[in-house]
């Protein structure tokens, strides 16, 4: 289902303006693309949103930015909540209390804090039970809603408020948790990584994740302006740089087979192109020894996924 932007431009947004996301927020761009995917795929969605930036800024009573059924319960339980919604839907349908025959996918969405950390158990449970759900982790690599604290998705040596880059400890000294591998390990039928710059790749993957029966998983890199400490208006270009430097490999996993996305670059650009405009890496960039380690970490992750995809 290829997208012709000119044909769809101007279509009614399902996530409407008036929300309180930061000016230039990468997550808001992602949500636009999510709804383009669902509308063009002809799949309606019910959304369970974990506590976080997206949730808070879109649902200030008595208003809501969501034009699709939307539910927030708490931080760590969006997958459990959507499990209940999904089972309720099928139960009510079986009893004849829901009569429509629209195509529905039950979507839970959370940031990296909700997905990698506090909600990992709930996510694992929901994936294991095999619900007809799509779980989306919008990953901005720290707890941005509460003021840029370290999460297990925070990259090596990034400067965050709870793992600051100091004289003794250079920020976060652990590598990112590989949530994609964890999701895939549940034996789910479909999973993919996406980036908001590569919209065609992103929309195609989400369309698939919405139409494949059973639990599916999308991991999206969504730049955060205050958290990454970067210029307003750079969210999309940084998402682009993340892919072009190999920081964010784009892959798919379908029924046991990994696939290397064609949107990945033929040749990698220097990692500095991704790091330079982000002040969270300012101190790292001044430390050649640590920078070398950072590069090795990025490359080893990139090579790992290339190998899994059978790409030389």
């Amino acid at each position: 289902m290829a997208i012709n932007l000119k044909q769809i431009a101007g279509m009614e947004a399902a996530y409407v303006k008036g929300h309180r996301m930061c000016a230039g927020c990468g997550v808001a761009v992602f949500v636009r693309e999510l709804f383009i995917a669902s509308k063009t795929a002809g799949v309606d969605v019910v959304i369970a949103n974990a506590t976080g930036c997206l949730e808070v800024t879109s649902s200030v009573y008595p208003e809501s930015a969501w034009k699709y059924p939307w539910l927030h319960v708490a931080f760590e339980n969006a997958p459990a909540a959507i499990s209940g919604v999904e089972r309720a839907y099928y139960a009510l349908k079986a009893k004849g209390k829901i009569k429509d025959d629209r195509k529905v996918k039950f979507v839970a969405i959370g940031g990296d804090g909700a997905s990698f950390d506090i909600g990992l158990q709930s996510l694992s449970g929901a994936l294991e039970r095999g619900h007809n759900i799509l779980y989306i982790a919008y990953d901005n690599e720290a707890y941005m809603n509460t003021g840029y604290q370290r999460s297990s998705a925070t990259p090596l040596y990034a400067d965050t408020t709870t793992a600051p880059f100091g004289k003794k400890i250079p920020g976060k000294t652990q590598t990112r948790k590989d949530l994609f591998a964890i999701a895939v390990a549940h034996g789910i039928p479909y999973a993919a990584t996406v980036s908001i710059y590569h919209w065609n790749d992103l929309i195609t993957k989400i369309q698939k994740a919405l139409t494949v029966e059973g639990p599916t998983f999308i991991l999206s890199l969504t730049p955060c302006i205050p958290g990454w400490n970067m210029p307003v208006g750079d969210a999309v270009s940084l998402a682009k740089a993340a892919v072009e430097t190999g920081y964010w490999p784009l892959v798919e996993y379908e029924n046991g087979v990994y696939k290397w996305s064609s949107a990945n670059p033929k040749q990698l650009k220097p990692i500095e192109e991704f790091l330079a405009s982000q002040k969270r890496f300012a101190k790292l960039l001044k430390n050649p020894e640590l920078l070398e380690k950072f590069k090795q970490d990025v490359i080893s992750n990139y090579e790992k996924y290339k190998k899994l995809c059978g790409v030389a």
Binding site: A48, S59, Y61, H72, A80, G84, R87, A91
Partner: protein, 406 residues
């Protein structure tokens, strides 16, 4: 306790545990969704019900979640989708789901949850006390307590009607004592399925996120400009539940001959010493009250059936002659003057300008058995306190003297 009114409903007497009695109502009501996680001593409820599902006896989607937090979260999701949804838990499980317990009532979802009361850690203990339930008493759940498997059965049936009433829309917790009730086989008069189905009726959800044509957003963020009103609004719903409970009990009585009340008084009209008790120990106290009455003692007992809402005015009407109240708490509030039930009663007495001597008798923590002998001992202490004008004492019943320090 049927007294005169003949049940219009056909009844089969079954030998059931409290856990089975809860599962029996679940079978008869056939909730749309049940999500649960095993925890002692609640487990037999969900095991029994899982068998009903496996055998095709009920049309229910059962979600075997990976924790109690997820159990209630899934139930909240289901209830918000317009489904009738249930779960059950105990102790640490209830503690783990506490966050969602508060959310369920604040989102005004009439979920019915069975709580099999058990002590909380540490030390780890699987036996009965009421510490788990008391930790959720101010969160906006209607809380019913059950003396025996029969009351578990009745409480579960009325729970739906109360919680799902448009004036209320609050979740209901049906409590029973861990092991003492949950694992005790007793005679339970079970109504015919059709009666229970009709009495409980179809569930009409007040709001439903599965309405794609009129989408709503549920679980919003409220600024200081609105949050206060939401809390008071929930309190108003709890207040309105009093009238609803009265009506539901009345209707239940008319249909079945089974009488239920907020507070169930036994020989209190002329009683000078009144025990107040919850759950399974109530029967033991009634037995002892009978024995003491044989000796000419003016003593009675009030069993708290509806703990939230706690309608203290109804309580006060039942103790016209009381000079001394022996409150029995199966939980210990640490850092204040008395434990939960004691606090509810004493604040009510004071606010209503009713001056009566009151002691708080703490018993049965962590499953410490409470026997008829313990009850006699407690009565002796109460009688002595009344004679000496003693009040406001916290008294422990059944503490092991060998373990007391100097």
């Amino acid at each position: 306790m049927s007294d005169g009114v003949v049940s219009k409903v056909s009844v089969v007497r079954k030998a059931l545990t409290g856990a089975q009695a809860a599962a029996e109502v679940m079978r008869q009501v056939e909730p749309d969704v049940v999500a649960a996680y095993p925890i002692t001593p609640q487990t037999p409820i969900v095991q029994e019900f899982a068998q009903f599902v496996a055998d095709g006896l009920v049309n229910t989607e059962m979600i075997q979640v990976e924790s109690e937090h997820s159990a209630l979260s899934a139930v909240v999701g289901a209830a918000m989708s317009g489904a009738r949804a249930m779960t059950a838990t105990s102790s640490q499980g209830l503690a783990l789901m506490w966050e969602v317990v508060a959310i369920a009532s604040s989102m005004r979802l009439p979920i019915v949850m069975n709580i099999v009361n058990r002590a909380i850690s540490a030390p780890l203990n699987i036996h009965c006390d009421h510490s788990d339930a008391m930790a959720i008493r101010d969160l906006g759940w209607i809380m019913l307590f059950s003396e025996n498997p029969q009351e578990v059965y009745h409480n579960n049936i009325v729970a739906f009607r109360i919680g799902e009433h448009p004036d209320v829309f609050l979740p209901v917790a049906v409590n029973q004592d861990g092991f003492i009730t949950s694992h005790c086989v007793e005679a339970v008069d079970v109504f015919e399925d059709s009666f229970v189905k009709n009495f409980v009726g179809e569930y009409k959800a007040p709001y439903n996120i599965l309405d794609f044509d009129n989408p709503i957003s549920a679980g919003e963020w409220a600024m200081p400009s609105h949050y206060f009103e939401f809390r008071v609004d929930m309190k108003k719903a709890m207040d309105r539940s009093v009238g609803v409970i009265e009506k539901v009990f009345e209707e239940f009585y008319k249909e079945t001959g089974v009488k239920m009340d907020f507070f169930e008084a036994y020989k209190t009209e002329d009683a000078e010493i009144v025990f107040v008790v919850m759950n399974s120990t109530a029967g033991t106290i009634r037995y002892v009250v009978d024995k003491l009455r044989e000796k000419g003692k003016k003593v009675g007992v009030i069993k708290v059936r509806v703990y939230r809402p706690f309608v203290v005015e109804k309580f006060l009407e039942l103790i016209p002659s009381a000079k001394f109240i022996a409150v029995m708490d199966r939980a210990l509030s640490i850092g204040t003057t008395g434990s939960p039930l004691y606090q509810d009663i004493t604040s009510g007495l004071f606010a209503n300008k009713r001056i009566v001597l009151v002691n708080d008798y703490i018993y049965g923590l962590g499953g410490r058995d409470f026997t008829d002998d313990d009850a006699y001992e407690m009565y002796e202490h109460a009688e002595y306190s009344l004679k000496e004008g003693i009040s406001g004492q916290i008294v422990y019943v059944g503490l092991n003297p060998n373990l007391l320090g100097r």
